[in-house]
Symmetry: C2
Subunit: 317 residues, 2 copies
């Protein structure tokens, strides 16, 4: 346990750009192999500066990888019609929305308005349900891949980069033996992330203000998927057992209590706010302060998959 | 304005059972005309006494109308798999879930797990999106009807019974000139209800803790549907203009400030809690304290529509 306030020299901070780089190269090659330039449309209907920054990053990365990126700023009351117009426009390959717009259930409704054939963020119900049930393809012939929600997917890619996934263990079981705490259980990131990690073999404590759930891998009625149970465990005890702690609290005021960390834990923050104080480095072995650039790489990767899925569907016509 | 605390004799209280009765008769005839007995499955995965009472009422009404009703009590962690099993079971015609289960976004996810072909509550995304866009059929030939969410639909049927819908005005415009305040903007009831009322010509103030929106009928980009705008108006001013006030606040502590009511207003409460105090009768002309029995009639009516839609699809095979 660290007893001084100086930063332990053993913690390595890893930037998302480093993890994103090989993916962006791979995506660039993917775009070059296409016979046309794919078009991604982003809808901005809020005045959140974090959303605008994320939109700017998306534009920069998309354009550097060879896509056309078009930001459409619309009034929130016009957003639904604008999404429907983009759904129906053959010139648009992928669509994303910078949430929150209205917040809550109305945003969840809007996510479902977006055509699943153009949903680069992977938030359509079919994709989310497939992910929860570990279903990886859209068709029986396994030619069209289901799309994974991009922020949870980015987090998984970061954990792979960090060696938390052990590549000596067979695929699908590479988190076996690992305990992970995820602080956030939203439908967009926290809950799907807990499920993905449990599907890969981890024991996951999923924490939010309503309580803690434990996700583990198991065999349910018909589908191979994780099991979930409410558990009575303090944050301190859950974190004290965890090899990895992932935060996603959308509040500038929130600071994770780093004194709960196991020495040498891996810490990843996916919130646009800094959930870990600088003292995280006194306890962690690896620290990833933000993941946005990997998320953008994943949504561009998803866009290539959507284009490929369309090609596969066209072959069947 | 009433100045004494005695109940004004001019307010008539109308019970939901009275409104439900002709619908239940009509449904009974519909069931008798079928070649088999339809099966409705209700899933109860919470310990909410209001949900259990509602389930008991559903059972009673469904059975008296000639349906087979089966209540399946499941652990909330087993609910998703149980819904999927019922989706796939040809012996089940209709499915409903007594929400809330987890609350929030996870319940909205579960609603979408339910097959839209068996969704008697009309909460599938396609049905909700059709309702918002005033699309009444599922197919171009107009043989399969889109399903309306049952609580908003029940409220509309009550307003028709009360004469708030003026049947001398052409269909689709029968609330023209009416102002209505709806206190609740949930995705399940308040927001769809505001849209339905605006689609029929009313000016609707939709109130929740985040603010007030005004729904009016209008022509949007491509679809014939209502318009929505944030408005700065006090509850007192909105209610003071309203011919009808509809409440749906899920809290025993909440009591609507009846002194804001226009004399002779029509008051309808769809919450399982009593949102109006007894003094509502000093101001209102018509008062409907609860709507549950009409909601049940509407979900049985929806079930007959789902069976008819299936018949239409089978004809096309």
């Amino acid at each position: 346990m660290a007893t001084t306030s100086t930063t332990a020299p053993t913690c390595k901070t890893l930037l998302a750009a480093t993890v994103a780089k090989p993916f962006v190269e791979e995506i660039k090659n993917g775009v070059q192999a296409l016979d046309r330039t794919p078009v991604l449309v982003g809808f901005l209907a809020n005045s959140d500066p974090a959303a605008r920054m994320y939109a700017d990053w998306t534009a920069k990365t998309a354009e550097s990888a060879g896509f056309i990126y078009e930001l459409r700023e619309v009034d929130k009351e016009e957003l639904e019609e604008a999404i429907i117009a983009a759904n129906e426009d053959d010139a648009v390959d992928g669509i994303m929305v910078y949430f929150p717009v209205f917040g809550g259930g109305q945003d969840q409704y809007l996510q479902q308005v977006l055509s699943k054939e153009k949903d680069v963020e992977g938030l359509s119900h079919l994709y989310i349900q497939n992910m929860y049930h570990n279903v990886r393809f859209l068709d029986e012939a396994e030619t069209q891949k289901s799309i994974l929600p991009c922020t949870p997917l980015a987090t998984v890619k970061i954990l792979e980069f960090l060696g938390v996934y052990n590549s000596l263990i067979p695929y699908g079981n590479r988190l076996y033996g690992k305990t992970i705490t995820v602080i956030n259980r939203s439908e967009i990131v926290g809950r799907p992330l807990a499920a993905l990690l449990a599907n890969d073999g981890a024991t996951v404590y999923s924490v939010d203000i309503t309580g803690t759930q434990k996700f583990t891998r198991g065999q349910a009625l018909k589908h191979k998927r994780h099991l979930v149970a409410d558990v009575e465990i303090s944050l301190q005890d859950a974190v004290g057992q965890s090899d990895v702690v992932i935060t996603g609290v959308p509040s500038a005021a929130y600071k994770f209590p780093v004194e709960y960390l196991k020495d040498g834990a891996v810490c990843v923050n996916f919130s646009s706010e800094k959930n870990f104080p600088p003292t995280v480095k006194e306890h962690a072995s690896l620290y990833v302060p933000s993941i946005g650039k990997v998320t953008i790489a994943m949504l561009l990767r998803n866009l290539l998959r959507l284009i490929d899925n369309k090609k596969q569907r066209d072959l069947l016509k």
